[in-house]
């Protein structure tokens, strides 16, 4: 699991994910909503076979924070 690949999977959830990088505060993105939060949890389940919880998404500010949360559960 690499940060680059994670950012790519994350950005793929968005229509306009081109600008997203590891330091992006993703909840400030205009496309961010509760469906996106569910989608992130589902993407992590599908790509990494890891169950993260709503609170993990809530606590993360940047994409890298999320990456670290997933890594911690691998």
């Amino acid at each position: 699991m690499t940060i680059d690949q994670f950012v790519e999977n994350f950005a793929d959830l968005f229509d306009n994910g081109g600008e997203i990088n590891a330091q992006t505060p993703f909840k400030e993105l205009s496309e961010w909503n509760s469906l996106m939060a569910l989608s992130v949890i589902a993407m992590v389940d599908e790509e990494y076979d890891v169950s993260i919880k709503g609170i993990d998404v809530q606590n993360a500010v940047t994409v890298e924070d999320l990456f670290n949360a997933v890594k911690g559960k691998l």
């Binding site: 509760s34 469906l35 939060a37 569910l38 989608s39 949890i41 589902a42 993407m43 389940d45 599908e46 919880k53 709503g54 609170i55 998404v57 809530q58």
Partner: protein, 250 residues
């Protein structure tokens, strides 16, 4: 005989999912209303807890540990149970996945419990004449997938919609034996099912605020509806979906 039309005295009722949540509360309340209960669940310890909480020690309550997705477990269950006047199927599971991540594997996992094994248990009970004429079957569906279509709830909702459809077919076919078949569609109820952590506490608080009656349900709110449908008070009710949702679907 009791003059209370909701009494379950003299009735033997099978309750699945009795090791937790709505099924557990239903089993206990059925026993409080005078019923004899067969409690079914997967987790032995939690099922024993429910069994110990049943009232009416003069009645022969039973407990059967059964993973209903396991064919042998199902057969053992069917062979070992007495003649039934009521069947309440509460066993169920849920997932939250946006449609684009709802793979066949996710549908299979949820449908296996909520639909296929639930329907197979009912089929076996009916075919083997374990449900007495005049009996009552109650399936626990959900407003999700039948009247409320929340984001991410598609797999679960589809399994419950399929169950409601089957309920109606059975209501028609079983009517010749005066066996009634109904479903209850609850809104969100405080049980371990909704505590998976996919939603944050804050999201849950916001969701709960959508309920006109101001709160999520408690297991007893659903159990009381089950008691009604099992009882002679509902003698002319079949093929119905009773919505118990604090007004959510208005």
């Amino acid at each position: 005989m009791s003059i209370n039309p909701f009494s379950l005295e003299g009735k033997t009722v099978l309750v699945t999912g009795a090791s937790s949540g709505i099924g557990r509360e239903t089993a206990i309340r059925v026993s409080q209303m005078g019923g004899t209960v067969v409690v079914v669940g997967r987790n032995r310890g939690r099922l024993e807890d429910t069994f110990a909480a049943l009232e009416g020690t003069d009645r022969v309550h039973r407990q059967v540990v059964c993973d209903q997705t396991n064919e042998e477990d199902l057969e053992r269950l069917i062979d070992g149970i007495p003649q039934l006047d009521g069947v309440v199927q509460c066993a169920g599971t849920s997932v939250l996945f946006p449609f684009q991540f709802s793979t066949r594997e996710k549908y299979d996992r949820v449908f296996e419990v909520n639909f296929f094994s639930t329907v197979e248990l009912l089929r076996l009970l009916y075919k083997k004449k374990k449900i007495s004429n005049g009996g009552s079957v109650v399936l626990i569906a959900s407003v999700g997938g039948t009247t409320v279509f929340d984001t991410g709830n598609g797999v679960y909702g589809a399994s419950k919609a399929a169950l409601v459809s089957t309920m109606k077919f059975c209501a028609k076919e079983f009517a010749k034996k005066r066996i009634r078949v109904n479903a209850i569609a609850p809104g969100r109820v405080h049980t371990p099912l909704i505590e998976s952590g996919t939603m944050t506490d804050e999201q849950i608080r916001m969701d709960e605020a959508k309920y006109p009656l101001g709160r999520y349900g408690e297991p007893a709110d659903v159990a009381h509806g089950v008691i009604y449908l099992l009882s002679d008070a509902a003698a002319w009710v079949t093929g119905a979906m009773l919505v118990i949702d604090g007004g959510l679907s208005i």
